[in-house]
Each structure stands twice: as C-alpha cells, then as structure tokens.
C-alpha cells in the first residue's frame, strides 16, 4: 500500500451517512422551528382575539349602563310631569350637542382600546309615549367605529390611472 493511501484511510471519513444525517437534521430543525413559530403566532392571535372581545363587551356593558341611566332620566321627567318642551330643554342641558332636539335623538359614545369606540344613537319616544317598565327609545345605532382619523399616506407619488398627469 502506498504512503498516500494509508494517510487517506487514517483521516476523518465523511461518508454518505454523514451527508444524509446533515440533511435530515437540517430538515428536522427547520420544520420544528417553523411549526413552533406558527403555533406561537396562532396562540398570540387567539389571545388578541380574547382581549378584543373583552374590550368590546366592556364597552357594551358601559353603553348598557348609560342606556339604563337615560331611560331612568326619561321616566323621571314623566313622573315629575315636566312636559315635552321642558323635557327637551333638560335633555339639551344634560347632553349638550349630543342631543338633537329636532330628531329627538341622543348620541353617545364609549371609548375603547386600539382607537375604537362604540357609538350609540337612541331615538327618544314622544313625551306622551314614555312609560315605566319599558325602554322609552329605539336603538338606531349600536356600532363600533374608529375614533382616530384615517390618514392616507401620500408621500409616494403613485400613478393615479390618468394619462394626462
């Protein structure tokens, strides 16, 4: 046997089994990392969903309390025998700009998180129709809206679709 062949046998052997191992381990590590990252992202999304649902029901609860307060106020006016014009006057004082005397409408909003708010519009019944033991308004709007102004980013000059520009 020549000297060169003997040296080759003594050196570190990297055979086909080592190459297959490197490839398999690489695949395993990549897939394990990907599946872990995906599962973590899914779980984080589920937690965000829970948080936003909680925030919504918190706003909804506050809006229900406000609704109850308004109904009690309306019943109070009738009990006192305030009269229609006096009732409107009192509502204007209590709610300010949020009471539309012409439409007989009260609007209020409950602030939530992430720049959202719950906007409620109540159409108040006529003075003669206000009674105890019922809701003396019709809910016309119970809607989640963005409380922050939406700003369009116009820093990039994007083609608007017209050839004249």
């Amino acid at each position: 046997m020549s000297k060169r062949e003997t040296e080759k046998e003594r050196g570190v052997q990297i055979g086909i089994s080592s190459l297959i191992l490197v490839f398999t381990v690489l695949c395993l590590v990549v897939f394990a990392t990907l599946s872990l990252a995906s599962a973590k992202a899914d779980y984080n999304l589920a937690e965000k969903n829970l948080k936003s649902t909680k925030v919504y029901y918190d706003m909804d609860g506050q809006a229900e309390e406000k609704k109850a307060e308004i109904n009690r106020l309306l019943i109070g006016f009738v009990r006192e025998g305030a009269g229609a014009s006096e009732m409107k006057k009192e509502l204007s004082v209590s709610f300010g700009e949020n009471f539309d005397a012409e439409k007989n409408m009260i609007e209020y909003s409950i602030d939530g998180e992430n720049g959202q708010q719950l906007v409620v519009n109540l159409k108040i019944f006529d003075y003669g129709d206000i009674k105890e033991g019922q809701e003396n308004f019709e809910v016309q709007r119970w809607q989640i809206q963005n409380s922050e102004e939406y700003e369009i980013d116009e820093s990039l000059s994007v083609w608007g679709g017209s050839l004249d520009e």
Binding site: S17, S18, V25, S38, A46, N49, L50, T53, E65, G133
Partner: protein
Amino acid sequence: MSRSSVSKSHMFLIEFICVVMFFAICASLCISGFAKAETLSNKGLLLNRSVAGAETIAEEIKAMENPTEPQIAGIIEEKNGVEKEITYRCETERNNDILSAKIEAYNGESLLCRLEVKKYISNGGKDE
C-alpha cells in the same frame, strides 16, 4: 482479512456510531419542539373555540327580552351538551335593572376565558 479493510470498517463503524448519536440528540430536541408546537396549537384552538362559545352565550343573553336564571342555565346546559372539551359556567348578578353575567369557559379545571356581559332590563325583571 487484510489489515487495511479492518481499519476501514472500524472507521466506518466509529463514524456510524457518531452519526447515530448525533441524530438521536438532534431528533429528541426537534421532537420536543414539535410536541411543544402541537400543545401550543391545541391551546390556541381551545382558546379560540372558548371565546366563540362565550360570545355566543353572551349574545343569546343579550337577545333575550327578560333573561331569567333558569333560562341562562338552559343556554349553558345546551352549550355544554354540544362541546366536548370545554365546559361553560355562568354566574349572574342583578344590580337593580342591570343584569350582569360572568361567563367562564373551562378545559377540565383550567380557566380558558372569562367574559362579562351586561344587559339593561327595562321592566326590572318583572314579567309582563
């Protein structure tokens, strides 16, 4: 057998043992990673389902004209009959004309989610 072929097979055996050991270590680490991902994925799925279920119960309570405790218990019972892994519980409290219901979803004994819903009952809970 010549001396050179014995040396060759020894080298191959050593390499093969190293390969198997390294593979075993890497595979055990990766499998634990896969198992963790599976657990986390199931947890997320349960959380999503429990939130959707709790929301359904909350909306059913809100849709009722005058929800009473037996009616709410009926909704919970119906929901628990459909779900296998999630158990719902609901505690109600009445503060004058505001009904507050705390809906909780459990997987076994571990709490998944809790929602609190309020409803204004204009007739104070009296039947018309």
